[in-house]
C-alpha cells in the first residue's frame, strides 16, 4: 500500500507543480494546495501505515501508529490553510488592481 500511496503523492506533486507553472492566478493557488496535500501524504507514508491502533492511549493496547508524523502533519495542515487563504486574497487583490490574472503581465516595470 505504501508504494501506491507514494505514487499518489507523486501524482499530487506533479499536478500541483503543473498548476504552479500556469499563468492564471487561481491555478497557482490550486497548485499550492495540491502540493501541500502531496507533502502531507508523503510524510505519512514515510512512516508505517496501519501499523497498530490510533495514537490514543487505551487500556490493553500495546501497539500504536507512529504519532510523530501525525503531529507534524497537523501543524502543516493549519499552516497551509493560512498560506492558501492569504494567497487567495492576494490573487484577488492583484487581479482587481491590475485588471488581469496573467502572471506574464504582472511583472514589475522598474528595471525593464
Amino acid at each position: 500500500m505504501e508504494i501506491i500511496m507514494s505514487v499518489l503523492a507523486g501524482i499530487l506533486f506533479m499536478t500541483g507543480v503543473y498548476n504552479l507553472l500556469q499563468k492564471q492566478l487561481l491555478r497557482i493557488v490550486i497548485g499550492t494546495a495540491l502540493v501541500s496535500h502531496g507533502a502531507h501524504l508523503t510524510i505519512l507514508t514515510m512512516g508505517k501505515l496501519k501499523d497498530g491502533a490510533p495514537p490514543i492511549l487505551t487500556e490493553g493496547v500495546e501497539n500504536y501508529t507512529d504519532p510523530l508524523p501525525q503531529a507534524l502533519i497537523l501543524t502543516s495542515i493549519v499552516i497551509s490553510f493560512g498560506v492558501t487563504s492569504l494567497l487567495l486574497v492576494l490573487a484577488y487583490r492583484a487581479s482587481k488592481i491590475n485588471h488581469t490574472d496573467n502572471m506574464d503581465q504582472l511583472r514589475g516595470n522598474d528595471y525593464e
Binding site: 500500500m1 505504501e2 508504494i3 501506491i4 500511496m5 507514494s6 505514487v7 499518489l8 503523492a9 507523486g10 501524482i11 506533486f13 506533479m14 499536478t15 507543480v17 503543473y18 498548476n19 504552479l20 507553472l21 500556469q22 492564471q24 492566478l25 487561481l26 491555478r27 490550486i30 494546495a33 495540491l34 501524504l41 508523503t42 505519512l44 507514508t45 512512516g47 496501519k50 490510533p54 495514537p55 490514543i56 492511549l57 507512529d66 504519532p67 510523530l68 501525525q70 503531529a71 495542515i77 493549519v78 499552516i79 493560512g82 498560506v83 492558501t84 487567495l88 486574497v89 492576494l90 490573487a91 484577488y92 487581479s95 488581469t100 490574472d101 496573467n102 502572471m103 511583472r107 528595471y111
Partner: protein, 775 residues
Amino acid sequence: MILAVLLPFIIAIFIPFLSKWKDKFHTGIVVTLVPLVIFTYFARFLGTDFEPVTRSYRWIPSLDMNMVFHLDGLSLLFVMLISGIGTLVAFYSIYYLHKSEKLGHFYVYFLIFMGSMLGVVLSDNIYVLYSFWEFTSLSSFLLIGYWNHKHGSRYGALKSMLITVFGGLSLLGALVFMHTITGTTSIQEMIANNEAILNHEFFPLILSLLLLGAFTKSAQFPFHIWLPDAMEAPTPVSAYLHSATMVKAGIFLVARFSPMMSASDWYFIIVSSFGIVTLCWGSYMAVRQTDLKGILAFSTISQLGMIMAMIGFGTKVAIFAAVFHILNHATFKGSLFMIAGIVDHETGTRDIRKLGGLMNYLPMTATLAMFGVFSMAGFPLPFLNGFYSKEMFFNASLDLSATEGIAAFLTSAIPYLAVFGSIFTFVYSMYFFFGTFRGKANIDQLPKKPHEAPVGMLISPAVLVLLVVAIGLFPFIINEPFISHAASAVYGGEAMKEIYFWHGFNLPFIMSLTVIAFGTILALTIPRWKTVYNFVPGVLSMNKVYDFTVDKSVVFSSKVNKSYMTGSLALYMKLILITIVGVSFTLFFMTGGFALELSNLAPVTTIEIIVALTMAIAAFGTIFTNNRIAAILILGVVGYGLAMLFIIYRAPDLALTQLIVETVTVALFLLVFYHLPNLTDRGETGRGKLINWLVSIGFGLLITTVAISSHSSKWFDVISSYFVDNSYKLGGGDNIVNVILVDMRGLDTLFEIAVLGLAAMAIYSLIKIKNKKEE
C-alpha cells in the same frame, strides 16, 4: 598596541557625527590628531637598542586566528611612515579640501585606510594580515572614487579594485598553501621553518601567487596600469596611498617574506627582473605624461620597481639601500605630490603643457619643489637623501654575483638597465620641474590667476623637504636608531651600518655622472625625440588588455543574466525545479540511495484503491477543467479524499482537522473565484506545455522515489516510543498527538498560531485597502 591599530577605526565611527559641524570647524583637524597620537606612541620604540616586540590578543583562538602584532624594524619603519606622512597629509587636506566637500566620507575612508595599513604592517598572523590587506584595497577604491560624479574617478577606482583584489586573492592562495605546509599561521614561525616551504613541490606556485599579490599592489609592470588612473583621487590621497604607503604594501610583503624565500634562485630572478623592468618602463613612460600627477604616478611606479629590484638582489647593501629608499621616496615623492596639488589648486590645471614660468608666482612652492625634484633625480649633493640611495643602488647592482643560467645573464644586464632607468628618472624630474616652474609663463591661459599657496598648505611639503635635507646632511641620525633595524629585519641578520656621501671616485659615482650627463642632454632635447613614444609603446598597452577583458566580461555576464532573468516567475520556478530534480537524482544515483523494500508493506484494500484513484483523477481534473467552480470543487475532492485516507491510516485528529480546513478552504475559494477571470487558456504554446509537463513529471517522480526509498530504508530507530511512553506521564493526556502538539512541542504550536494570526491580519488589511480606495 592593539589600541593604536584600532584607534583610526574607532575615530572613524564618530567622523560622520563630527562632519555635521564642518561649517564651524574642519573635520580634518580632529583627523590630524589621530596619526599624530599613533606617531608619538610608536616613536618611543625608536633607538639604537630597539628589540622586536610581540603583542597578542585573542580573537578566534579555535581557528588559530589571533591578533598577533609583531613590531620589528621593518614594521616600525612602515608604522612611522604611515603615521608620520598620515599626519602631514591630513593636515594638508584641511587646506586642500573645501568645507563644501563630503568631508565625512573622505575622512572615514582615510581613517579606515590608515588603520588597515597599520594592521598590514604589524600583523604576524597571515589571515589577519590578509584581512587588513583587502581593507586597504577597499579604502583605496573608495578614496579614488571619492569624486564619484567624474567618470575618470569611477573608472580608476574600479580598475584599481579589480587589479589589487585579483592580486589579493592570489595572495590568499599563497597564504593558505603556506599555512597548510607549515601548520602555523604566524609569519615568524614560518620564517623559522622555511625549509619546509622551500623544499615543497608546490614552492614555485606559492612563490608566484605571493609575488602576484605583491606586484599588483605595488604596481609592478605589467600590473602598473591602475596607478596612473588612481590619480583621479584627491591629491592628499595620491600623496598618501598611492605614493608613500599603500603601494609600498607589496614591497613590504616581499620584504617580510624575504628571509624565508631569498634562498631560492627564482626569487632573485623574478623579483629583480620585474623590479628592474618596472624601473625602466616607469621612468621611460613618465616623460610622455602631460598631467603633473601622471608624471608622478609613473615616477612612483619606477621608484617602486627600483626598491623591488633591490629587495630582489638580497645583498646586504641592496637591502639596506631598499629600506633606506622606502623612507627617502616617501619624503621627496610625498612633498612633490603635495606640490602638484598646490599647483593644481592655485592655477586650476595640472596640464604641464599649459603651465610654465610659475617660479615668479609661486616662489615658495618652487623652492620646495626644487629640493624634492633634485633629490628624486639623485643629484650628487650632500643635502639630498635621494642621492644616497641612488648611489647605493648602483653599488648594489654591481655587487651581484651569479655564475650560471638566467641569473648570470640578469646580473650582467642589471647595471646597464639601472643606468638606463636612472637617466630617464633624471629626465622626468627635470621635465617636471622646468616644465612647471621655468620657461615662458602663459598666465592668461590658466583657469585661475596663480598666487602663492596659503601657509598652511605649504607646511606639510616643507616638513617633508626639511626631512629630505636633514637625512641628506645627517644620515647617521636616522640610520642607527631606525633604518638599520629595518634592514636587519629584512636581511635576517646584522645589516650594513654606514652611510657616506663620498665613496671615492669609483664606478657607482661614474654611473651617477653618466646619468647626469645623458639626462641633461635628453632633458634639453625632449621635443626632438618625443616621437619615439609613437613606436614604443605605440598602440600596444596593458590598458587595452585590461579594457578588453573588463568590457568583454561585462558584456558576457549581462548576456548570461538577460538569458534567464527575464522577469517571468514561471521561468524562475522551472529553473529552480529542474535544478532540484537534476541534483537530487544525480545524488541518488551517485550514493546509491534508492531502495525498494517490499516485505514490510501494509495490505492493499479495495477502499483505499478507490479513494486513491478518485484523488488521482481529481488531481488531473484540476488541470484540464477551464471552469472555475469545477476546478475548486475538484480540489475539494482531493482534500476530502485525503481526509478519508487519514481515517483509514488511523489518524483521527488529522482527519478532523483536514475536514474542517478543507471545508473552509473551499468556501473561501468560492468567495473569491467570482472576482477572478475565467481559467481560459493564456496562449501557452505546445512546446511550453511540453516543458511544463516534463518538469512536473520529473518532480513527481522525484517525490515518489524519495517517499519509497525513505520508507524502504530504515537507518535509525523509531523515536516515537518516547512519546507513547511519556504522553500520559508527562503530558497528562491520552491523545498522544494532542500532547505532542500542545505540550511537548508547544512552542511550535505557539508560532503556528502566530503565523495564522499574521496571515489573518494580512488578509484583513488587504481587503481593507480596497474599501478605502473605493470610498
